[in-house]
Amino acid sequence: MNTRALPLYVTIAIFLLAWLICWTQFPAMLSSRVIGNLLTDNAYLGIVAVGMTLVILSGGIDLSVGSVIAFSGVFIAVVLRDTGLHPLPVFAMLLVLTTGFGAAMGFMIDRLAMPAFIVTLAGMFLARGAAYMLSIDSVPVAHPFFQSLQGTYWLMPGRGRLTLIGALMVLTFAAGMIVAHKTRFGTSVYALGGGEATARLMGVRQGRTTVLVYAFSGLTAGLSGIVFAIYTGSGYSLATVGTELTAIAAVVIGGTLLTGGAGYMFGTFVGVLTMGLIQTYIVFDGSLSSWWTKIVIGVLLLAFILLQKGLLKLSQDRLARGRA
C-alpha cells in the first residue's frame, strides 16, 4: 500500500465514524432525505473544491474563487434583470468569463514567476470589486426557467430528493477524477506539485499546465457561482466571503497535501461531505451554536496537517533505515 493513500483512508474512516456517531444519536440521519440535502447544501462548495484540489495538487493556491462565485451570482442576476436573455447563454458567457479570468491569473503566475498566493489575492479583490460595480444590493432572479431549475429533482429511494445542483456536484467530481487521474494533463499537474525542476526535466510543459490549472479553477468557480445563484435565487456581492478558505479546508481534510503532488479528487468529495455532516449534526441537535462547525473544522484541519507531517517523517525514516 502506498503511504500517500493513507490520508484518503483516514478521511473516509473519519467520515464513516462521524456518520456512525450521528446515527446513534439521530437515526434519521441515515435517511436519503438527509443525504439529498447534504448534496444540495454543499453543491457550490463541492464544485469549487474540485478546481481547488487540482490547483493545490499542482503546488499552487487560488484565493480568488470565493469572490468569483459572488461575482457570478451578481452577473447572472443583473444580466437577467436588465436584458431579455435566456439564462443558458448567460451561463455560457459567465463560464467563458471566469475561465478566462483563471487563465489570465495562471498566465501571470507562470510568466512573471509570481507566487500564486499574491496573484490570486489580487484576483480576489478584483472579482469582489467587479461584483460591487454591478450591484451593491442583493438582486433577486425571477426568470421562469431559473425557477424550473430550482424545482428540478429526482426522487431517491426513501423519498430523498437529488436536486439538479446536487447531481451537478457529483458529476463535477466525476469529471474532476477523470481529469486528475486519467489524463496526461492530470499527470503533469501531479508532476508539477512533486517538483517543478524535475517536472521540467521530464518534459512537462509548465506554462501550459499552470494556465490550464487556474483556468480549470476559474471554470469550476463560475459553475459554482451558477449553482449558488440557483440555490439562493439571487445574486449578492457580499455572498461567499471566505469560501475559498472553506474550499481549501475541504481539500486538506480530504487528504490532499497542501504543498502539492499528492492527494485524490475523491478525498475532497469526502472532505466536503464531512464538513456538511458536522453542520447537519448541529442543525439536528438544535441547542449547539453553529460556530461549533468552525471549531470542529479547525480541529480536523490541524489533525490532518499533523497526520501529513507524521507520514512524511515516517516515510523518510523508512528510507533512512533502508539505506543504513
Binding site: 489524463t183 501531479y190 508532476a191 512533486g194
Partner: protein, 499 residues
C-alpha cells in the same frame, strides 16, 4: 565515433568554465569524466545535454553537428542523462514515471492497463520485477536510479550520461546499478560516467578523461592507468606555472587547540587533531574524502556525534556555529555564492555582518564605525571596488573572497577555517590570498586550509593532513610536505610502488 566534441568553450561572467575541451565517446564504451569541484565536469555535461548553450567549439553526434537548446531536445536527439538525484518524481507511480509524456491512450484517456504492462516489460529488460503501481518514492534509491536509467534509455537510446549516479548508494546497490550499466554498454550505448569514487571508475570504465580548471588534462585507457597517475592528473600542478614555494619551517608551535576522537556518522570517521598557535594545518584529499565534512564538524555546522574539543583553558562547546564563533572560530565555506556572501548587500554590510551578529541586534554598530571598518579592510586586503557601498554580487570572485575574509578578520578569531579559499579566483588574486594567510599566521592566528590544489597547500601549510574515504590517513610535517608524498597518501600506495 558516437559523440565528438572539439575545442568546446563556455564562458561565465569572469571565468572560462570550459576552455577548448576535446572529448570523444565511442559506442559500446563507458567513459569516465573526472575532476575536482570546479574543474568543468558539470559544465561539460550541461553543454552536451542542452542545459547550457556553448560559446565555442563543436559537438557532433554520429557525425552530424548538434546544438540542443533544452534537455528535452537533447533527449530527442539521443542523449539522455541520469543525475545523482532529482531525476524522477517520487510522488508518481513507477509506471507513470517510466511512461510520462508517452502514455498509451484510449479515447483520449490514459489507458492504465496498457501503461502498466508496458512499464513492466521495460523493467524486465533490466531484471526488475516491481509493483509498478506503487509510488516511486517508496522504493530504495538504487531501484529509483535504475528506473531513471530505464526511462533515459527508452527516450534517448544513444548516449547515456550518468552524473554521480552512485553517490547515495551502498556497495550492493552500486553493483546492481553497474550490472545494468554494463548491460547497456554491451547493447552498444555510449556511456559517460561521472564519479568521484576512483574504485568505481577502475571497476566500471573503459576510458578516462580528466578535466582541471576547465581544460582537458588527459584521456587514457583505464586498463593502462594506475591510481597514482590518475591522481596526479586530477590534482597535479600546472606545467606552465610550477611554484616550488614552500612554507618556511618555523619549528613547532605553542599548542592551542586539541580535538580528540571527533567524528560524525556518515560524514567523517573519528580523528584526533592538534592545532598550534599561529600554525597552518592543510587538509588534502579528493572530493568526497571528508575534507569539507571535517571543517563543518569543527565549526558546528554538522555537529560531531563523538569526541571532545578543548583548548589550554578547558573544554570547548562546538555544537553549533554560534557556539564555535563564541569559542573564537571562523569559517569561510567552499560555496561562497550560497554560503559565504549575501549578494544583495553592500561590501560594508557584508563586512560588519558577523561583528554585528555577535554584538546582538539591540546594539547597532554606529555608521561611522562601520564605514571606518569597511574602508580599513578594503585598503588592507586590497579589495578592488569603486567604493564600500557597492553590491558584493558585482565583485569578482577573488574580491568577494577577500570580503568574506574581512568579515572574519573584523571579529578577530583565533582559529580560522578556509574551505577552498582560492576556488574560482584568478591567478593574481590567488597569490594575494596566499600572502594574506602568511600575514595572519604571523599575527598569531591559526588556520585550517582545505584545498584541492596541492601546490597551494604546500605553499601555506606547516602541517598537512591527508584524508581518504572519510578518514584521516596521514599527517605530514616539515620536509615531508611534498607533492608526491601527499599524492601517494591519497592514492594509498606505498612509496616503493611508485618509484
Amino acid at each position: 565515433m558516437l559523440l565528438t566534441i572539439r575545442s568546446l568553450t563556455k564562458l561565465f561572467p569572469g571565468t572560462r568554465a570550459l576552455d577548448g575541451v576535446d572529448f570523444d565517446l565511442k559506442a559500446g564504451e563507458v567513459h569516465a569524466l573526472l575532476g575536482e569541484n570546479g574543474a568543468g565536469k558539470s559544465t561539460l555535461i550541461k553543454c552536451m545535454t542542452g542545459a547550457y548553450r556553448r560559446d565555442g567549439g563543436t559537438v557532433a553526434l554520429e557525425g552530424a553537428e548538434i546544438d540542443p537548446r533544452s534537455t528535452v531536445e537533447a533527449q530527442d536527439l539521443g542523449i539522455g542523462t541520469v543525475y545523482q538525484e532529482v531525476n524522477l518524481l517520487p510522488n508518481l507511480t513507477v509506471a507513470q514515471n517510466l511512461m510520462f509524456g508517452r502514455e498509451p491512450r484510449r479515447l483520449g484517456l490514459v489507458h492504465t492497463r496498457a501503461m502498466r504492462a508496458e512499464a513492466r516489460a521495460m523493467l524486465r529488460d533490466y531484471g526488475l520485477e516491481l509493483d509498478v503501481d506503487r509510488d516511486l518514492g517508496s522504493y530504495p534509491v538504487a531501484i529509483q536510479q535504475i528506473v531513471a536509467i530505464a526511462r533515459a534509455v527508452a527516450l534517448s537510446g544513444k548516449v547515456l550520461i550518468l552524473d554521480e549516479p552512485t553517490a547515495s548508494l551502498d556497495a550492493a546497490e552500486v553493483r546492481m546499478v553497474f550490472d545494468v550499466v554494463r548491460g547497456l554498454r554491451d547493447r552498444g550505448l555510449g556511456i559517460v560516467f561521472v564519479s568521484h569514487f576512483l574504485d568505481q571508475v577502475f571497476d566500471l570504465t573503459d576510458r578516462v578523461t580528466v578535466l582541471r580548471n576547465g581544460r582537458k588534462v588527459a584521456t587514457e585507457d583505464t586498463a593502462a592507468l594506475d591510481r597514482m597517475r590518475l591522481i596526479q592528473h586530477m590534482l597535479g600542478r600546472e606545467l606552465e606555472a610550477v611554484t616550488h614555494e614552500t612554507a618556511p619551517d618555523r619549528g613547532p608551535r605553542p599548542p592551542m587547540l586539541h580535538f580528540q576522537d571527533m567524528g560524525r556518522r556518515g560524514a567523517v570517521e573519528p580523528f584526533d587533531m592538534a592545532v598550534g598557535q599561529g600554525e597552518v594545518v592543510g587538509l588534502a584529499g579528493l572530493l568526497g574524502s571528508g575534507r569539507t565534512e571535517t571543517a563543518e564538524l569543527l565549526f558546528g555546522v554538522r555537529p560531531a556525534h563523538s569526541g571532545t574539543a578543548r583548548d589550554q583553558a578547558g573544554p570547548l562547546n562546538l555544537s553549533a556555529p554560534r557556539a564555535a564563533i563564541a569559542a573564537g572560530f571562523g569559517f569561510a565555506p567552499e560555496d561562497r555564492k550560497t554560503d559565504g556572501i549575501v549578494a544583495d548587500l553592500t561590501i560594508r554590510e557584508n563586512i560588519v555582518l558577523g561583528l554585528q551578529a555577535r554584538r546582538g541586534w539591540a546594539r547597532p554598530i554606529p555608521r561611522t564605525e562601520q564605514n571606518r571598518l569597511a574602508d580599513d579592510y578594503i585598503k588592507r586586503l586590497d579589495i578592488r571596488t569603486t567604493g564600500r557601498e557597492k553590491r558584493i554580487g558585482e565583485l569578482s570572485g577573488g574580491n568577494q573572497q577577500k570580503v568574506v575574509l574581512a568579515r572574519w578578520l573584523a571579529m578577530n578569531p583565533r582559529f580560522l577555517i578556509l574551505d577552498e579559499p582560492t576556488r574560482g579566483i584568478d591567478v593574481g588574486a590567488h597569490a594575494e590570498i596566499v600572502r594574506l594567510i602568511h600575514e595572519l599566521t604571523e599575527q598569531g592566528m591559526s588556520l585550517l586550509v582545505i584545498s584541492s590544489e596541492i601546490d597551494e597547500l604546500i605553499a601555506v601549510s606547516d602541517r598537512v593532513i591527508v584524508l581518504r574515504d572519510r578518514r584521516h590517513v596521514a599527517e605530514l610535517e616539515g620536509d615531508a610536505i611534498a607533492a608526491d608524498r601527499i599524492m601517494q597518501a591519497i592514492a594509498a600506495v606505498a612509496p616503493q610502488e611508485v618509484a
